[in-house]
Amino acid sequence: MLKFFPLVWATLWRKRTRTILTLLSVVVAFLLFGLLEAVNVAFSNGANAGDSHRLVVGGKYSFTEILPLAYLQRIRSIPGVQDVTHATWFGGVYQTESNFFPQFAVEADTYLTVYDNFRVDPAQKDAFIHTRTGALVGRSLAKRFGWKIGDKIPIQATIWPKVDGSNAWDFDIVGFIDPKNEAERAQTDVMLFHYDYFDEARQFGKSYVGWYIVKVAPAADPAVVAAAIDKEFANSPRETRTDSEQAFNKAFIKQMGDIEMIISSILGAVFFTLLFLTGNTMMQSVRDRIPELAVLKTLGFSDPAVLALVLAESLMLCLLAALIGLGLADLIMPALAARMPGLDMSPQVILGGCGIAVVLALIVGILPALRAMRLDIVNALAGH
C-alpha cells in the first residue's frame, strides 16, 4: 500500500496553485475548529469539574443570600460531614472593573483542608495563617498582574465598605496557589484572605457568610448528607440549598446559555462551506486526469484500486490540512489561555479534528472516486 504514496503525493501537487489554495482554506477551517473546540472543552470541563464528595451549601432561594456564621458548628455536627469551611464573596475591583477576578473571605486553615486540590507551599501557608491582612493568590493571577510576595494590593470594595465608610482595602500577598491537577488551573485564579479580618473591618453583614463548603466523609453518601444539611435548617429564617460541587458548577455554566450549540452552529457553517470548496477541487482534479486514470486502468489497476487512489488523495489533502490547522491553533493557544483561563488544546480536540478530516475526505472524495472507478477505458482515452 505504502508504495503508492509517491504516486498519490505527485497527483496531489499536479496543479500546484489549486492544491495550495484548497489546502489553505481547509487549514483555516481546522484552525477555527481547534480554537472553538478548545473553548467548548474548557466549558464542559468547567461544568464537569468538582469533587463529588464536596458539597456547596447556599441560600435556599438564591446563592447570593447570606447565611449565619453560627451554622458552621451545626453543619459540623451532622453525621457524614468530615470537614466544613465557609467563604464570602468580596466582589472588589483591582484598578478597573475589567480586571475582574473572584476574591473570597475564608477561614484560612479549614478552607485549604476542604480544597485539598489546591497546593500551597507549607511555609507560605503558615505565613498566610499568621498574617492578619495576608492573601493567597492563584499563581497565574499573580503572573497576570505582576504580583510578588510582600506586595500590598489595593482592592476597592463594591459591596463591603469598612466601618468608617471607606471602600479601600489592602491585602498583603503572602503566597501563591497552584492546582494539584494542572487541568484545574482555572479554579485557582482567585484571591483568598481572612474572614476574621474582613468581618471585623466591614460596616454591615457581620457574623454572616456567603456559603459553606462541606467535605463528605469517604464512607458517607453525599446525597444523604446534603439532604440532612437542608433538613437541619428547614423552616428556619435562613433555609439552605445544598448541591454537590459538580452540580453547582454545571448549573452555573448552564446559566450562560447553550455555548455548545453556538459553537457547533458556527463550525457547522464552516464545514458546510468547506464541503463545497474541497469537493469542487477533487472533482476538478479527477476531471483533469481522466486520460491518466484510463492509462492506469489499462496497465491493470483494478476498479477498487482506482477508487482507493482517489480517496487516498482526498484523505491526504484533508489530513495534511487538518494537522497544519490544529498545529497553528496549538501555537496560538497559550496566548489565548492567558486571557481566558482553562483553554487548552487537549488530545480530544486533536483526535476529534483528525476524525472530522477523515469524514470530510470521504464525503468529498467519494463522488470523484466513483467517477474515476467507473471510467470506461476506451472512451476516456478516445475522448482526448
Binding site: 496553485t17 489549486r18 489554495l21 484548497t22 489553505l24 482554506s25 483555516v28 477551517a29 484552525l31 477555527l32 480554537l35 472553538l36 435556599k60 432561594y61 438564591s62 446563592f63 447570593t64 443570600e65 466582589g91 475591583v93 472593573e97 475589567s98 475582574f100 476597592q156 470594595a157 463594591t158 459591596i159 465598605p161 465608610g165 471602600n167 454591615f204 429564617p237 435562613r238 454545571k250 448549573a251 448552564k254 446559566q255 450562560m256 446559555g257 452552529s265 458556527i266 457553517a269 464552516v270 458546510f272 462551506t273 468547506l274 463545497f276 470548496l277 469542487n280 477541487t281 472533482m283 476538478q284
Partner: protein, 396 residues
Amino acid sequence: MASTLQQIGAVTMMNVRNVPARLGTSMVIVVGIAGVVGVLVALLSMARGFEATLASTGRPDRAIVLRGGSNDELSSVIFRNQATLVEQTPGIKLGADGQPLAVAEKYILTTATRAGSTEPNNLVVRGTELRVLQVRPEVKIIAGRMFTPGLKEAIVGRQAQGQFAHLDVGDKIAIRGGDWTIVGAFSSGGDVHESELWCDAETLMSAAKSPVFGSITAQLDSAQGFTAFKDALTTNPQLTMQAQREPEYYASRSQALNTLVTVLGYTVSVIMAIGAVFGALNTMYAAVSSRTVEIGTLRAIGFGSLPVVVSVMLEALILALAGGLLGAAVAYILFNGHSVSTLNMQTFSQVAFDFRVTPDLLWKGILWACIIGAIGGLFPAIRASRLPIVDALRSG
C-alpha cells in the same frame, strides 16, 4: 474611453452568461462567502440585541443612585434613612401629590428554571413601590393587575415569562419566605426590566429579613438638571452616594458581554474570511484557466487587457455579492427576533434579549462579501491580462 467601456460590458456579459456552465466552481465563491457573512451577521446581531436591550433601558432625564463604590444594584446597600435623604435632594421632579417622583428599590435574585429543566437560573426580583408606574411610565401592565402592597404578590416581565417556566398569572414562585403569587405581567418597551419580577419593596425586605434598599431611581426636573442633582447628592455630608444617568448606568452593565461577543464575532469571521479568500482565488483562477483560449481570442481581435481584468473582477464581485446577499438573508431569516437569555456576569443575573439583524449589519456583511470577492478576483484577473496571446491561443 467609450469603446473601453463597451468592451468591458461585452466581456463581462459574456463571462456572466457563462457562469451556469461553471456552476459547481462558481458555487464555491457563493457558498463560501455566504457562510462568512451568515456567521458574521448572526454573531454581531446577538451583540447588537444585547446592547439594545440594556442601552434602551432608562431615560436621560432619570437618575439612578447607588452606594458610592458599588458597580451595580446587587452590590449596593442603601439604608432607609439614607434613602429618605436621597429622595429629598433638590432636582427631583415632584408628582401630582407633591412628593418627589422617586422610588427606592430592593434588588435581589431568586431562582427560576427553564421549561423542561431543573437547573437554577438567577432571576432578578425588584422590590419597588406603586409610584414606579409614574417614575417609569414606559411600563404597561399587559395581563392581570399590579401587585398589592403588603401582600406576597408579584408581576412578571414579558421576557422573563417567555424564558422561564411557571411564571404565568396565577402561578406561584418562591422568592423569599415561601411562595408569592404572580398577579400580572408587564412590558417596558423591550428594556432590561422585562427580564425581572416586580413586587412590593417593604414586603420583600421583611420576607428577606434584609431591611435595606439597593438603589433609588428618580425622575429629574430635566435632563440638564442632572449635574446639579449629582452635585447636591455627592456634596451632602450625610451621604456617600453616586448618581448616574439611567442610560449610562445600564449601558455600562452590558460592556463585558458585548465586548466578548463582538470580539468572538470578528475573530471567527476574519478567520473564515481568510478561508473564503482562498476559495474565491481558486474559483477565479479556474475560471481564467478554463477560458484561456477565449481570452486569447478576445485579445487577438483587439480587446484591451483592461476589459479582461475588469471582467474577471466583476464576475468575482457579482458572485461574491450573491453570496453576501444569501448569507445575510439566511442570518436574517434564522435569527432576527430570536429570543435568548444569558447570565450577565456584570449583574450576576439573567438578561433576555432578541437577536437584532439591523440594516447596518446587513450592509456590513455585504461589504465584507465584496472585499473578499475583490481580493479573490484581483490576482486571477492580473494573470488573465498577462496571458501571452499566442500561447493562450495555442493552449487549446
